[in-house]
């Protein structure tokens, strides 16, 4: 069965889910924080201080909406490399993010061993991620399987791009999760590109959610620039999973507002006109407008918030930049667990 956004109460223009005003503001704060950190990363990259950046811009609503439907410290998340906004909500600090960007010894994700944006933290139940795409989808299914064996009621959430749904691991993992009705939420953040490869060269279906029919699990396409829609759809999927009714595939339609990464130049394959169009779907702008419209965030309050966040990101950047690099001797640490 393939549900679509129309099946669920979503659009902020509609009378969205009843979330307390402070919760809505908190959601916005995380979106703005993610955006601010991300933009700062690009500045640091252009300034020659950060060798590599891969961006979350355009995916913030999809991630913040979803993460707010999860229980921090209890539920597992396996975000992919665009998951900045999701890990912030799950508890990672801007300083920790910046420590990864600068590959510092104190980087909690990998101690500077992995590329930036490969977030992980056992304490926060953010599972360590690798670069080969799609492998984490199988891990998510396995975490759900273990939860079933242990009789626990945590759910597991994982994210990946639409290109990654072409990988065998996507298929094998969703199939397994459906067979055993595992408590998993599979979030595909569909930005219509895999580096330069457009969706139509990646699949012959209009929606990634159509793939859910192959597994007998619900597949839902959501406007991923609508944070409230994402929250509501994910909330229902989480309830379903916790009830033991099984997994859900959620396709969040998002926009990739940057090149694939700082190593990419998307002008070679993406018309600038398209990018201009996409910018009109900026989830941060959209949610800011919604909050103003509903008198949930006044102009002064927003200006104040932006200043606080910029200060926070300044501090995080400085702290991280001043932190020491890993000692060469540590190269040999942690090959095996004792």
């Amino acid at each position: 069965m393939t549900l679509t956004t129309s099946d669920v109460v979503l659009s902020p223009s509609g009378d969205g889910p009843s979330l307390a005003p402070e919760t809505l503001r908190e959601m916005f704060r995380f979106m703005l924080l993610a955006r601010t950190i991300d933009e700062r990363m690009w500045l640091l990259n252009r300034g020659g201080k950060a060798p590599f950046v891969i961006s979350c811009q355009g995916h913030e609503a999809a991630q913040v909406g979803a993460a707010f439907a999860l229980t921090r410290g209890k539920d597992f998340t396996l975000p992919y490399y665009r998951g900045l906004a999701s890990v912030l909500v799950m508890g990672m600090t801007p300083t920790e993010v910046m420590l990864a960007l600068f590959a510092r010894a104190a980087d909690p994700s990998s101690g500077g061993r992995q590329m930036p944006a490969h977030y992980g933290s056992r304490r926060l139940k953010i599972v360590t991620q690798s670069s080969p795409v799609g492998t984490q989808i199988a891990h998510a299914a396995g975490i759900g399987l273990a939860e079933r064996i242990k009789g626990g009621d945590a759910v597991v959430w994982t994210s990946f791009g639409e290109g990654t749904t072409s990988q065998g691991d996507f298929h094998e993992a969703l199939n397994l999760a459906a067979i055993h009705q595992l408590p998993a939420i599979f979030q595909c953040e569909n930005n219509e590109y895999a580096i330069s490869v457009p969706q139509k060269l990646q699949m012959a279906v209009a929606n990634v959610a159509d793939r859910a029919a192959a597994y007998g699990m619900p597949g839902i396409t959501v406007d991923g620039t609508d944070v409230l829609a994402m929250y509501e759809v994910t909330r229902r999927a989480v309830e379903r999973a916790r009830r033991g009714d099984g997994p859900t595939l959620i396709e969040a339609r998002v926009v990739r507002m940057t090149a694939h990464s700082s190593d990419d130049n998307d002008r070679t394959y993406r018309p600038s006109s398209e990018l201009k169009r996409l910018r009109q779907h900026d989830p941060v702008v959209r949610f800011a407008a919604y909050l103003q419209e509903h008198d949930l965030l006044g102009e002064d309050a927003e200006r104040e918030l932006r200043q606080t966040i910029i200060a926070e990101v300044d501090a995080a950047t400085d702290a991280a930049e001043q932190a020491p690099l890993p000692d060469p001797e540590t190269l040999y640490d942690h090959v095996y667990a004792p």
Binding site: F76, D107, P108, S109, S110, G111, R113, Q114, H118, G120, S121, R122, V127, T128, S130, P132, T135, I137, A138, H139, A140, A141, G142, I143, G144, L145, A146, E147, I149, K150, V156, G168, D169, E172, A173, N175, L176, I179, D333, H334, V335, Y336, A337, P338
Partner: protein, 326 residues
Amino acid sequence: MPEINLLEAIRQGIDEMMADDARVFVFGEDVGIRGGVFRVTEGLHAKYPGRIIDAPLAESVIVGACIGAAMNDTLPIAEIQFADFIAPAFNQIVQEAARIHYRSNGDWTVPMVIRAPYGGGIHGALYHSQSIEAFFAHVPGLKVVAPATPYDAKGLLKSAVEDPNPVLFLEHKKTYRLIKGQVPDEDYRVPIGPADIKRPGEDLSVFAYGLMLHYALEAAQTLANEGVSVEVVDLRTLRPLDTRTILTSVRRTAKALIVHEDNLTGGFGGEIAALIAEHAFEHLDAPVTRLGGPDVPAMPFAKPLEDAFMPSPGKIAAAMRKLAAY
């Protein structure tokens, strides 16, 4: 002490670990009611409800799901039906299981076992006879064991389940029922790492594991009757490799022969030979010699071809003779 075969020893090891620790479970194709195609898990499905799980026919997610499960406080034992079919899981094993502890700077661990029945001489043809150790013994972060006796198999299986790292547990199919031995009733472990001198000797050292260990012992007996004293070292663990025992033995005998069933070129024997050549150079009285399967893609089905492929006690004895005479 009761005498059982290697397959029963592995089953006992799994059974006892599952009885002791509710976190242990088995995930693989046909491991449930069927008890596995080799019957290793026979009887366990009824005994441990919900913990002997038939997997879909998909090795990548068999391993990948066990990785996830291991990160959620369980102790998975993945069964690959035949080692030849581990190839679809190569990415999950090498890029994920083996690297997770390192890439997370020690934050996450993957305590899992991957059982894989390997090896030939059982009329399994190209795709049910392969040796796979060279691919995995090269990978830092993985442990690779290949027991040859029931005692070692049970003791190493238990150590593997308790090990906080991913352990590839290689079971030579031909030894399953062929090799019998005494196994104590009381609980014990065989540590991952140390090699074991199965037959002490003076004139030359032979290094082997799995079925080849038994063929080497047979050949050593033949040579003994010819007045040549051969030391036979059972490597048991391929990664981490017990270089100390290997080098100590060669420094004493001054001659080394390495035997494996896997294709010679690029096989794990090359690593052992290289270690000896570099670190026992001044003690060597003869070239470090390797005897391995021929460099053809795999072991054919037709009996004459399979026999031509398999290293045999006779071929090993001939290599020993040549080395002894050097």
